[in-house]
Amino acid sequence: MPLSDEALVATGIAKTYGATCALRDARLVLRQGRVHALLGENGAGKSTLVKILVGAVTPDAGHVELAGVPTTFGSVTQALRSGIVPIHQHLSLFPELSVHENLSAFALAGSGGFLARKRLVDPPRARAWLDEVGLNVDLTTPLAALSLGERQLVEVARALSLDCRVLVLDEPTATLNASEADRLFTVVRRLCATGTAALFISHRFDEIEALADDVTVLRDGRTVIDAAPIGRHSREELTHAMLGAGVEAPPERRCVRTDPVLVGRGFAARRDARSDISVTVHAGEVVGLAGLIGSGALALAAWLAGAQSGAGGLSVAGQAFASGDRKRAAALGIAYVPADRHVEGLFAPLSARRNVSVSALGTLARLGWLRRSEEAERIDPLIRRLKLHPSQPDAEAATFSGGNQQKLLIGRGLALPGLKAMVLLEPTRGVDLAARGIIHDAIREAAAAGVAVLVATSDLDELMVLAHRYLVMRDHLLAAELPGDAPRAALLSALSGSLAA
């Protein structure tokens, strides 16, 4: 048998969470010394597949071979010991500790028992790892003193402390600027030259083309393009493979600008930033607020809805309200759909109907007493319109799939009495295509009825089917305002700050 260069082979991987099928039949083959890109839209199953590979999640079906040996990982530690090292999107280092202590975390974890005498690896070894990733900092520097890009390199250097066979990079560039990303890529390429395989997850085609050798595309939990060399498919073909036939038609772009409804002036996204961000959303208009993670787009949107305090003046339909006063903002007719549905949105133990009606309790109660028949009469048609599945308003919110839970939050916004403006953060993150279409329709209908809508998301496809006008945030500043018919390339370059798309 010839010596195979397959570092990792995963076949037939399936995983179901409750009613949501995250992965149906995924296949992924990584080869030694090559960078492999994994593509797929939000909800395609990328993150679940990554979690399975790094041992954080156990698959329901399928099997994984590491260098030809069948493997199952019971924990992240086991996967690490086998040489699968994740570099996380949200850095998994310890900012309070020194570079040296951070580098030692893997090498010494579990090695010394409770009373480990040795807390640090030998300085020359740590130094050598840092040299390998081209980072020239003192070992005693506190990690917090480093930039995000440098921290990511420390994370890669820490991977060297293990016998790293597969490096998993989950959107590592989301928080990096262009030169930091370049530096990271150089290091990844150098590592791969020694035989390490790398899995690279990113939404940015230019990065993928610059770094990856092969590409796998996931759609709806299945592998639709399997380990194709990077030049074989065009960007359009890859995009089509990601989105499939479910792509929505672009909206009618006509929007007659009428009265300004939601107005925010003088927001500072960061304490040190200049406070000059001003936003106006008109009646009947859908404004798309685009920004990568960490750009301040979500903070700006939350501020506009009264969900987050900050400098600046806010008003809706001419009536001012204080920042961070969510109660008054709701009373004035601003609905808010937060970004993290489980943490900030859902009342998991309560029924679907009560999750929706909570915004309308003021008009459903008379002298402090609720009329439950009227509640059902008013809320259930809204739930039906959003095609809640299964159509059981009395079922607990926790029992619904992610897409249907999100419908409840949209419904809660639509049920707000005197609705004048809607602020939606990542309204379809992790939502299946069917629910996504229904939610988008509901947003369009609300705008058509004269509601001022602001959608903040990092999902460009979503913005391109919804927005009449784009605002682009970058580095905590409003970087650009583009018309609704702006091409994708223009948006991308405004988002990333590069001249070329």
Binding site: R326, A330, P338, E344, P349, V358, L361, R372
Partner: protein, 327 residues
């Protein structure tokens, strides 16, 4: 949905879900009727209910706090302080106003708890532990360590010993408390908001709910239920006692836990509270009738709490244990 949660037992042993506490309570009742001598007599059952009454009233208050995602430890100490305050003001105010002043003390402590938890954002365990100690200390300081006796009067002993239409007042008060709690939870706007705040306080704030105010009102309402219980207790002992009901908060928490209220908040029904209270009362009564040492009441109560909470774990733990045993 439910079939996925089953563990692999012979089909004859399968239960589609944990038995509800009402069923357990009924089963326990029938078991006691059959096995415990003298349990099923009218006099004994009235006695069970009379003992259960005060627990039930205070547990209604505890249920509100638990639905809010909190917990109340200060009930016993505030009831003790109420008894002391009542007896001290009694000569000046007379029995009715005296009992009212005692009740108001309990509501006041509830409001302090609600303000500290809701407005200041302090953890309920620490807040109510703090007020427990303070109320307890103040009560002991006021009487100087010895119980104060109240001058006997008909009005003063009515809450504990009176009867209306032949039914003891405490039992009527407990029925009334359950009715009020049910109406508040099912039809009151404030009751609905308690569920929302308990289920997810952050989401509640973002939905425009005044979380601090809702929390304050919840602890105040809980204090009002406890106040009724404290008035009956004071009337029963006819004295001001700084160590009146030290186990009251724990028994009410146990009753709610046995009834199936999760301490994570956002859930709860008055029938669960009633079932939990009756279970506790029947267990205590059975221990007495079976001539077991009274200390066994506490042991059985603790065991019942653990079993009840274990049964509510959706069997997933049992499933894992069963698998491990099968290996």
């Amino acid at each position: 949905m439910m079939t996925k949660r089953l563990f692999d037992l012979p089909s004859s042993l399968r239960l589609s879900r944990p038995p509800t506490v009402a069923v357990v309570c009924l089963g326990l009742f029938l078991m006691c009727c059959l096995l415990v001598p003298r349990f099923a007599s009218f006099g004994n059952l009235e006695n069970v209910l009379r003992v259960a009454a005060i627990l039930c009233i205070v547990a209604c208050g505890q249920a509100i706090v638990i639905i809010l995602g909190g917990i109340e430890f200060s009930f016993g100490a505030s009831a003790a302080l109420a008894s002391v305050v009542t007896v001290m003001v009694l000569p000046a105010t007379g029995p009715v106003a005296g009992l009212a002043v005692g009740g108001a003390t309990v509501i006041g402590i509830g409001m302090v708890n609600g303000w500290l938890v809701g407005r200041m954002g302090l953890p309920p365990v620490i807040v109510t532990l703090g007020t427990l100690m303070m109320a307890s200390g103040i009560a002991a300081w006021l009487v100087g360590g010895l119980p104060l006796d109240a001058p006997p009067s008909a009005a003063f002993s009515w809450p504990a010993r009176g009867r209306v239409l032949g039914i003891p007042v405490p039992i009527l008060a407990a029925l009334l408390a359950c009715g009020v709690l049910h109406v508040l939870l099912a039809y009151g706007r404030i009751g609905r908001l308690w569920y929302h705040v308990g289920a997810n306080p952050l989401a509640a704030r973002l939905a425009g709910i005044d979380v601090a105010r809702v929390t304050l009102l919840g602890y105040a309402a809980a204090g009002a239920f406890c106040a009724v219980g404290a008035i009956i207790l004071t009337s029963r002992v006819a004295s001001g006692q700084p160590a009146l009901a030290p186990n009251l908060p724990f028994e009410t928490i146990a009753a709610c836990a046995i009834g199936g209220l999760p301490l994570s908040g956002g859930r709860g029904h008055v029938l669960q509270v009633v079932s939990g209270v009756l279970t506790v009362a029947m267990l205590n009564n059975a221990v007495v009738l079976l001539n077991l040492p009274v200390a066994w009441q506490l042991v059985l109560l603790g065991l019942a709490v653990l079993v009840a909470v274990g049964l509510q774990k959706d069997w997933t733990v049992l499933k894992r244990l069963a698998r491990r045993a099968a290996r």
